[in-house]
């Protein structure tokens, strides 16, 4: 009788330390597994990081932009470009493009001329002129962006490229 054979088989497998499952329950489990995996795949498609809530095309302002001619920027000065969220720092004939976005939680920092430092109005982070954080909750210095001269002599800043603090554009 098939039932008796199954019991004997079960005992034999369990004796050797194995896991026994009937053919029926194996296929039931496998089918449920495939079903849940499929549902999971659809849910990932909807809610995952390549899913519905993550657009592939962004209509955001260009990360690379021209800001004028080098002579437009006064010497020994920090020019605030509010709409672009970037500072242009000129010392003699060297230029640096420093991000205005505070490294703490993203507020726009101010350049305080009298103190010669950047200060964030939100939670009090402070940075030196080269962007290094020295006070407040900011965990790291302000980003420096790649700056270069275009073919027609304009100063161009590329905010998609972050460069080391020591890098300066020398004209």
């Amino acid at each position: 009788m098939p039932q008796v054979g199954m019991e004997a088989e079960k005992r034999k497998v369990k004796e050797t330390g194995g896991i026994w499952t009937s053919r029926r329950s194996f296929f039931t489990l496998a089918a449920w597994g495939i079903f849940l995996a499929t549902i999971g795949a659809y849910l990932w498609n909807l809610l995952g990081t390549t899913g519905f809530f993550f657009p592939k095309v962004l209509y955001e302002p260009s990360k690379c932009f021209a800001v004028g001619y080098p002579q437009d920027f006064p010497d020994h000065n920090v020019v605030t470009l509010k709409a672009r969220r970037v500072f242009v720092v000129r010392e003699g004939n060297t230029f640096q493009a420093i991000s205005m976005i505070c490294q703490h939680l993203g507020c726009a920092v101010h350049w305080t001329e009298e103190k010669g430092i950047f200060e964030c109005p939100c939670h009090g982070s402070k940075y030196y002129k080269d962007g290094v954080n020295f006070a407040g909750p900011a965990p790291r210095p302000l980003y420096h962006f790649h700056a270069y001269l275009s073919d027609d002599g304009k100063l161009v800043i590329d905010t998609s490229q972050i460069v080391e603090r020591e890098r300066k554009l020398v004209i």
Binding site: T49, T50, F53, L58, Y59, E60, L105, G106, C107, C122
Partner: protein, 257 residues
Amino acid sequence: MLPDLKEIGDKITQNDVWKSIFRHGYEDTPRNRVLQILSNVWLHIHPITVSKGNTNISFTWCLGGLTFFVFLFETLTGVLLMFYYTPDVNRAYADMLDLSNNAIPLGRLLRNTHRWAGHAMVITVCFHMLRVFLTGSYKAPRQFNWVVGVILLVLTLLLSFTGYLLPWDQLGYWAITVGTNMAGATPFAGYQGPFAELFGFTIDNDIRFGLLGGTSIQAPALLRAYVWHCIGLPALAGGLMMLHFWRIRKDGFSGQM
């Protein structure tokens, strides 16, 4: 000679059309009272009778009910505001100013009460939570309902958060900047949080990106805040409230009323 009111009344009420709308009369018998409540879609969830002890409000101060009432008020004022607000970056601030400056009759009152009631809902929900805690109404068998309540609290705060961006003013813009950057710094979820490399998170595929629909707050962020604020979060909150109230009816009040 005065018209026979009873005869006129009967003519109006003793016919098929009237009876198909109003099923039961106003006979003051216990049976009719039950029928009136149970056959009414808006009322049938309520208990037909309330024991005298339940009229003692000092056990709960009706805080949960107040919160629900404020939520309904917000829904109503919110829908009315939707007639005059467009979630577009070029229109939103101007629409808000129009509402506040008499371009729309009662616009200022509508907008201001919507704002105040939002604050009020957070306050009442916190007091409600405090009361539930102090009366031990979270203990067995009500533990799950407490969890549902906490989720409702989070949804209430999210409603406040998403609504704050909609005027598209400096306050809203920077508040949401800070809030979403916090999300960006969350472990296992944000591109600036711990373990971001483990999942390969960058500025354009982490949870902050999913919330903003972009790498910074632009038009998609405003639109998403609007959809979450007007549809997504109220639907979730409404569904959970149904569960929350159902559990209370089933488990009964937790104390002597």
